[in-house]
């Protein structure tokens, strides 16, 4: 085991990693920008080092400053948390070339999974289904028709260099494909200077479901079940739960096992998450892999009893996994609500401010991961995550009712948060029944209407 670990991150995740280190008896170095000098991770770490000014490029993304801090403090390993340098292959390589341990997978795995096309090719070869579609750019309407006839309608035309819905068309039947192709290509040309289009199968009611993996350096690989992450907007998740209410247990375990075997084939090491898109018929397709710890990892910890951060550290220090797949058991149900410094009534606009009054509703089955305190000023420079509420219950219903109660009790004053929106979701029938897809936020816009003034956080 390491003697000292440097945590190259900030906020709640820096605190989470420091806590894991403390439980393992490893000393910690927190690095921080000048804006974060008065934060909780800096004060609870054994040592702290200021590495730069508030801008992330000069501090949390400043590889040389972080490596220098590790050298000066004698840290042996670096935990990157999530975001910032967590999936930066150059950093992983630099850390290792400096004689230190990067707590995460190899730079090669980071690189391969960081490129969408390469990741899909790799995982397809490893045995995971990928979304049927054109392997390459589609030349014209006729070629599109041939491919579409093969994979079946509806299909999605997508600009190769696009984003934001431009150059995108959903086509339900063959006679519409020709004109749609021409329109999408012209739109893509206008918007991105390149009219190249891809074509893939269109999933009408998709679920975003991901599988948590732990893999040691000796070929031991386990999955820790799935997480249902379909409630998101602009690709940011707002609520996650495990197990998924959409999948029957045998189907979920089947998918997890398929993923586990694929990960074993690519020789991956560390914690990782395989993101899948699951269609109405519970067929799944590989989307991408996150080669790091996820924000929502605690819900998996709650139902498995496995501390994923500590396992990451043990794996990086060369220890084998202490459990096999059969030893991993799942108990109860866990939900995470991400309290963000955002105003849901203004389309989730980020806000800044100073926390003036703070009280977390805790009690049975509630875990709060947070770095904020009364008087803490939310910097505009960093992300908007204030706190993660994680509830556990023997059943999904109990997990939901505990979350409702915890949020009702919670007071966060000084700036708008997403908690009033979360409280409304927790009583909304589609959520309560567990019948929702990635369209949930868009299909329930009324939950973003300003709520009548009631108790803080409750909004009901």
């Amino acid at each position: 085991m390491f003697n000292k670990i440097l945590i190259a991150n900030r906020g709640e995740i820096a605190l989470r990693v420091i806590r894991a280190c403390q439980e393992l008896g490893v000393s910690t170095v927190a690095v921080h920008s000048t804006a974060d000098a008065d934060t909780v991770p800096v004060s609870v770490a054994d040592e702290s080092v200021c590495i730069g000014p508030p801008q992330v490029t000069k501090s949390y993304l400043n590889m040389h400053a972080i490596l220098t801090a590790a050298k000066l403090t004698g840290a042996e390993a670096i935990h990157p948390g999530y975001g910032f340098l967590a999936e930066n292959e150059t950093f992983a390589r630099l850390v290792r070339n400096s004689g230190l341990v990067f707590i995460g997978p190899s730079a090669d795995h980071i690189a391969r999974m960081g490129q969408k096309a390469e990741a899909r090719k790799t995982m397809k070869e490893a045995g995971l289904p990928i979304l049927p579609g054109s392997a390459d750019m589609v030349k014209d309407g006729d070629e599109a028709k041939r491919i579409a006839a093969d994979i079946g309608y509806p299909v999605l035309l997508k600009a190769a260099y696009g984003g934001g819905g431009r150059g995108m068309r959903v086509v339900a039947k063959e006679e519409d494909l020709g004109p749609a192709f021409a329109q999408a290509a012209a739109e893509a040309m206008n918007a991105f200077g390149d009219g190249s289009l891809y074509l893939e199968k269109f999933i009408e009611r998709p679920h975003h479901i991901e599988i948590q993996i732990l893999a040691d350096q000796r070929g031991g690989v386990v999955h820790l079940g799935e997480r249902e992450c379909s409630i998101q907007r602009r690709h940011q998740k707002l609520i996650e739960e495990s197990p998924s209410p959409f999948l029957a247990r045998d189907r979920a375990l089947q998918i997890c096992e398929t993923v586990r075997q694929a990960i074993a084939r690519i020789g991956y090491e560390g914690a990782g998450t395989v993101e899948l898109i699951v269609d109405e018929n519970r067929r799944f397709y590989f989307m991408e892999m996150n080669t790091r710890l996820q924000v929502e990892h605690p819900i998996t910890e709650e139902i498995t009893g496995i501390d994923i951060v500590k396992e990451q550290i043990r794996i990086a220090s060369g220890q084998p996994l202490r459990f096999r797949q059969d030893d991993v058991t799942f108990r109860g149900h866990s939900i995470e609500c991400r309290a963000l410094a955002e105003d849901a009534t203004l389309d989730f606009r980020p806000c800044t401010g100073t926390i003036q009054n703070l009280h977390f509703g805790l009690g049975p089955g509630i875990r709060v991961e947070t770095h904020i305190y009364s008087g803490y000023q939310i910097p505009a420079t960093y992300d908007s995550l204030l706190a993660k509420f994680i509830s556990w219950g023997l059943t999904r219903a109990e997990s939901i009712s505990r979350m409702r109660r915890a949020i009702r009790e919670t007071v966060i004053e000084g700036l708008p948060t997403t908690l009033p929106w979360h409280s409304q979701v927790l009583v909304e029938p589609d959520f309560v029944r567990g019948t929702y897809t990635t369209h949930y936020v868009a299909e329930h816009r009324r939950l973003q209407d300003p709520a009548p003034a009631t108790g803080a956080g409750s909004g009901s």
Binding site: A35, C50, I51, G52, P54, K58, H64, L72, A380
Partner: protein, 140 residues
């Protein structure tokens, strides 16, 4: 504009325009504003001065802070002689120290002409970003 916006603006101004001591001075014919960050001890590293010229307080020490994290060298690497000594008069832009981190060396220079009042670090010390290194009393 909210107070927090003003704060963010000041931070940005310091990051972009700040000298090695982390200070910015903005002046026109009628007013002059100096801003700086609060040091670890809680005392402002620079005072705010406003009002017409000629109302300045007596010169006070400027704290020169580390522009990067690294190992500090207070010696000239060719002659191995100290770059500056206590009580020495330095000119604006004169090299006071070097900070090296991972093969990158950053020069620490005097933001103004003055006399070296205090050296707060030892040669070879590891210093974090923004750590106080030296104090100079600017010449009037």
């Amino acid at each position: 504009m909210k107070l927090s916006d003003v704060r963010d603006l000041l931070d940005t101004a310091l990051d972009i325009l700040g000298d090695s001591a982390g200070r910015v001075e903005l002046a026109d014919g009628r007013r002059r504003v100096r801003i700086g960050r609060v040091s670890a001890s809680g005392a402002p590293s620079a005072d705010a001065v406003s009002g017409p010229e000629g109302m300045r307080a007596p010169p006070e020490g400027i704290t020169i802070r580390a522009p990067a994290i690294g190992v500090i060298s207070l010696r000239d690497n060719r002659t191995d002689r100290p770059l500056v000594e206590l009580g020495q008069t330095v000119t604006q832009g004169q090299t006071l120290a070097f900070i090296s981190s991972m093969e990158i060396t950053t020069k620490v220079t005097a933001p103004a002409a003055g006399v070296v009042e205090e050296v707060l670090v030892d040669d070879g010390d590891g210093v974090e970003f923004n750590a106080p290194l030296l104090k100079i009393i600017p010449s009037v």
